[in-house]
């Protein structure tokens, strides 16, 4: 394998040979070979070999910001559906205010949406918390589902794309790593514009020069793109 080059592997394919290598996530050992256990990009760090999936369903990781809806209320917390394999659990203790355990629906009721942080990922489920700034119950605005694989493109390099949308529409845009985007602004029309821009990005994740296209689209809608902000698009659009 060439160094520095991103290699795509198919399940069952030998990634590297040698007993000194250690198979990590998405890889396993077969004799002296380290073999891909899923489809994705190879990541070799020192002697640690991993395969990072490039497509498919959303797999939560610790530290991810996710947007989901309340599907169940238990005696000590809430269950949140975020589009993953299992529901996430939000304990009462991880909520930034006092909640009366007899009236938990007062704080979060069925069908209400929340922004939470992934605290722990186990095979049996995900624990989440909303005890930090920026997390909490979603009130107002709209949620757009784009799919987890498109999230990096919507965020853009160092957040450039999100910043452009925010500056142009004046709405607050929160991107959950599970592929859901929350848009909130004072003006519904502006929210709709932001939604349209996000859908444009989601439909053209593979396009070259996406930043320019989005910029043009925003200008076409009669909005301004903040020229003062330097948008790094060379790297993102290759």
């Amino acid at each position: 394998m060439e160094k520095g080059k991103r290699q795509i592997v198919v399940p069952g394919e030998t990634i590297v040979s040698g007993n000194e290598f250690l198979p990590g996530d998405g890889a396993y050992r077969d004799g002296v070979d380290v073999v891909a256990g899923c489809y994705g990009i190879v990541n070799v760090y020192e002697k640690h070999v991993r395969v990072v999936p490039v497509s498919g369903a959303y797999y939560p990781r610790r530290g991810n910001t996710i947007i989901g809806t309340i599907v169940d209320i238990t005696f000590n917390g809430w269950l949140i559906d975020f589009g993953g394999a299992q529901n996430a659990f939000l304990p009462v203790a991880e909520v930034p205010r006092y909640v009366n355990k007899n009236e938990m629906a007062e704080f979060l009721n069925f069908g209400e949406s929340v922004i939470v942080k992934v605290w722990d990922v186990k095979s049996r489920g995900v624990d989440v918390s909303m005890k930090m700034r920026g997390f909490g119950k979603i009130e107002g605005g709209m949620i757009v589902s784009i799919g987890a694989n498109k999230v990096p493109r919507v965020i853009g390099r160092e957040g450039s794309m999100v910043k452009m949308i925010k500056d142009a529409t004046g709405c607050s845009v929160t991107v959950g790593q599970n592929g859901k985007v929350w848009i909130s602004g004072n003006d519904t029309d502006k929210e709709v514009v932001a939604k349209k821009i996000i859908e444009l990005i989601a439909d053209n994740v593979m396009a070259d020069g996406l930043t320019d296209r989005v910029e043009k689209y925003i200008k076409g809608m009669g909005l301004k793109v903040d020229e003062g902000v330097e948008i790094v698009n060379e790297e993102t659009d290759k």
Partner: protein, 250 residues
């Protein structure tokens, strides 16, 4: 005893005895799915869609130790000359089950207990060999969905037409040729790394020696199919921008 002449020395399609039909494979054809693929050999076409892992309902079907794989195979009403009644039937139920077993030998869902991975296989156009085309498409779709798999699987139909051993039977060879010893077809699924057989069915009559030869032919054909599958997966969109070596976005 009179030794009868072999009535099938030349294939109707003009192919060589061990020649497969032209193959095309595409990955990521259904944007709303977690994984999807199409696989075409000659006139036989299969589309596979994967959804999940997701919570399995009803709850009593859940397995607390591992996720389960659930395959649904179906032929579209217009896929053959006579319209077939849509919905599950005896044949489609069987193929769903054997596909599920063949794929279960390579997928590892132990990391997702209480969940299900659904695989939907549809045949929009059939010219024999639909179950193997379906399995090839399903394997691609599962890989595309990022499901942990020990290896890939490739599938091919082999068989015997009168006295000739052939690879990749079409509709004529499979069900319209009745002269001499008739036709025998053997769908085979071969895993990509260990070259083990994940599915083996046999319809017809064949001697042990001929059977062994058929399996060798199938393994050889599967190597070619695996190459097409791997190329399709490498080509798929979404991977391209990382390939150029740029820093990952976000």
């Amino acid at each position: 005893m009179v030794v009868k002449k072999n009535l099938y020395t030349k294939r109707k399609s003009g192919r060589k005895m061990d020649e497969v039909r032209p193959i095309t494979a595409n990955v990521g054809i259904v944007p709303s799915a977690d994984g999807s693929a199409s696989f075409q050999t000659g006139k036989t076409k299969a589309i596979a869609v994967v959804r999940g892992p997701r919570t399995l309902h009803p709850q009593h079907m859940q397995n607390a130790q591992t996720g389960i794989l659930r395959v649904s195979y179906g032929m579209m009403p217009f896929s053959v000359e006579d319209r077939i009644r849509p919905g599950p039937n005896r044949r489609s139920e069987e193929i769903s089950k054997v596909t599920e077993w063949a794929l279960s030998s390579v997928v590892d869902l132990s990391g997702f207990p209480n969940t299900v991975v659904d695989v939907f296989v549809q045949i929009p156009q059939a010219d024999a060999g639909t179950r193997v085309a379906g399995i090839n498409a399903a394997a691609l779709a599962l890989a595309h969905a990022g499901i942990p798999m020990r290896e890939m699987v490739s599938a091919i139909g082999v068989g015997k037409i009168d006295k000739s051993l052939v690879v990749d039977l079409d509709k004529y060879e499979d069900s319209e040729f009745h002269d001499g010893e008739g036709s025998t077809d053997i769908p085979v699924v071969v895993t990509s790394r260990t070259k083990e057989i994940a599915l083996l069915q046999l319809d017809g009559k064949i001697s042990v020696d001929e059977f062994k030869e058929c399996i060798e032919m199938a393994k050889k054909a599967c190597d070619g199919i695996l190459k097409v599958q791997m190329d399709a997966l490498r080509e798929v969109s979404g991977v391209r921008d990382q390939k150029s070596g740029g820093k990952k976005n976000g």
